[in-house]
């Protein structure tokens, strides 16, 4: 279990116990909120808000990806994958951000036939991230 330096919500003192919880991979899957919290100036409340927004938004974005792949339209694939990549990148620069980028490239290069295999993987990765974010958004239990 990793403990990263942080302040309590009132900004006054270290709060290792809470940090233990938010950084526990067993609680949030492989995604760790710590880098994001640091990037947000140690604002954990804001990080939880943003995680909650992703949980609300990602089904629509994933649906747009599926729909574009089903149509076989490379430009639509590029646009839908780009939107998902941008949103996921707020939380991680690894999967599913990298996979969304891969799909965006497929769209850009007009290789719509290569998209279905990547989308399957992308959907699994997005689900995993979404579960971790939803759990984090609910806060420490």
């Amino acid at each position: 279990m990793t403990v990263v330096p942080g302040r309590d919500r009132d900004g006054s003192r270290e709060s290792e116990m809470e940090r233990d919880i938010v950084d526990d991979p067993d609680v949030h899957g492989e995604w760790s909120p710590a880098p994001m919290i640091v990037r947000l100036g140690d604002d954990e409340d804001l990080a939880r808000q943003l995680a909650g927004i992703f949980a609300t938004e990602y089904p629509g974005m994933m649906a747009a990806v599926h729909e574009s792949v089903a149509r076989g339209c490379a430009e639509s694939i590029r646009v839908a994958a780009h939107a998902l990549k941008g949103c996921a990148a707020n939380f991680t620069d690894e999967a599913p951000t990298t996979t969304a980028f891969e799909l965006e490239q497929i769209g850009r290069e007009g290789r719509a036939a290569d998209a279905p295999a990547v989308v399957e993987r992308l959907a699994r990765e997005v689900d995993t991230l979404a579960r971790a974010l939803s759990s984090f958004a609910r806060g420490p239990s």
Partner: protein, 196 residues
């Protein structure tokens, strides 16, 4: 100062709003380029805007380009926000008419510094605009005094635009910023009030 944020990413919009409000900006939020274009019309449009490169509707570079080509645009500082980090993208973004360029993920300290620069430049543009307006107004008054002015050869009254004959000092007061204080020159003193 008002700032418009235009991005289809709801997560990033929220993060931008929270940070900008902390820095004492008033945020106007739009989720695509068409909505942003509408919000940036008119004299009450936010003078600062952070616009995403890739968003539904008008994209960021086109938005910047079209805003710069308007002749009625009030002073406006435009920051392009994008995940495109390649050198040629930065150049293309700035050449589209953006004043600045921020890459994702957003470095909040850097954005805050850039916003300060934007605010300062908008302030300077506004001050410059106000000074130009003052000068244009003064120029109108000066022009009123130019041209042919009929003056009586005897009493020295001048004829105004409505064909009324006025004392020259009154005419000049009404058509310029000049003010008069009355006195007597040495020659007139000798003629009108000779020493006894």
């Amino acid at each position: 100062m008002n700032v418009l944020i235009a991005d289809d990413d709801a997560v990033l919009r929220r993060a931008l709003r929270i940070h900008l409000e902390r820095w004492a900006y008033t945020v106007v939020e739009r989720k695509d380029g068409d909505e942003a274009w509408t919000a940036l019309q008119g004299s009450e449009a936010p003078p600062l805007a952070i616009v995403d490169w890739n968003m539904p509707g008008i994209d960021g570079p086109t938005l910047c380009h079209d805003l710069r080509n308007r002749t009625t645009t009030p002073p406006m500082y435009l920051i392009l926000l994008t995940g495109n980090t390649e050198h040629r993208d930065v150049i293309a973004g700035l050449e589209s008419g953006a004043d600045d360029y921020i890459t994702k993920p957003v470095d909040w300290d850097l954005l805050r510094a850039r916003m300060r620069i934007g605010s300062r430049i908008v302030g300077l543009q506004r001050a410059l605009g106000a000074r130009v307006a003052e000068l244009q107004s003064a120029l109108v008054n000066v022009r009123q005094l130019s041209g042919l002015l009929p003056i009586c050869a005897y009493c020295k009254r001048v004829r105004d635009d409505q064909d009324y004959w006025q004392q020259i000092e009154r005419y000049l007061s009404e058509h310029s910023e000049a003010q008069f204080s009355h006195g007597i020159c040495p020659d007139c003193l000798e003629v009108h009030l000779p020493a006894e």
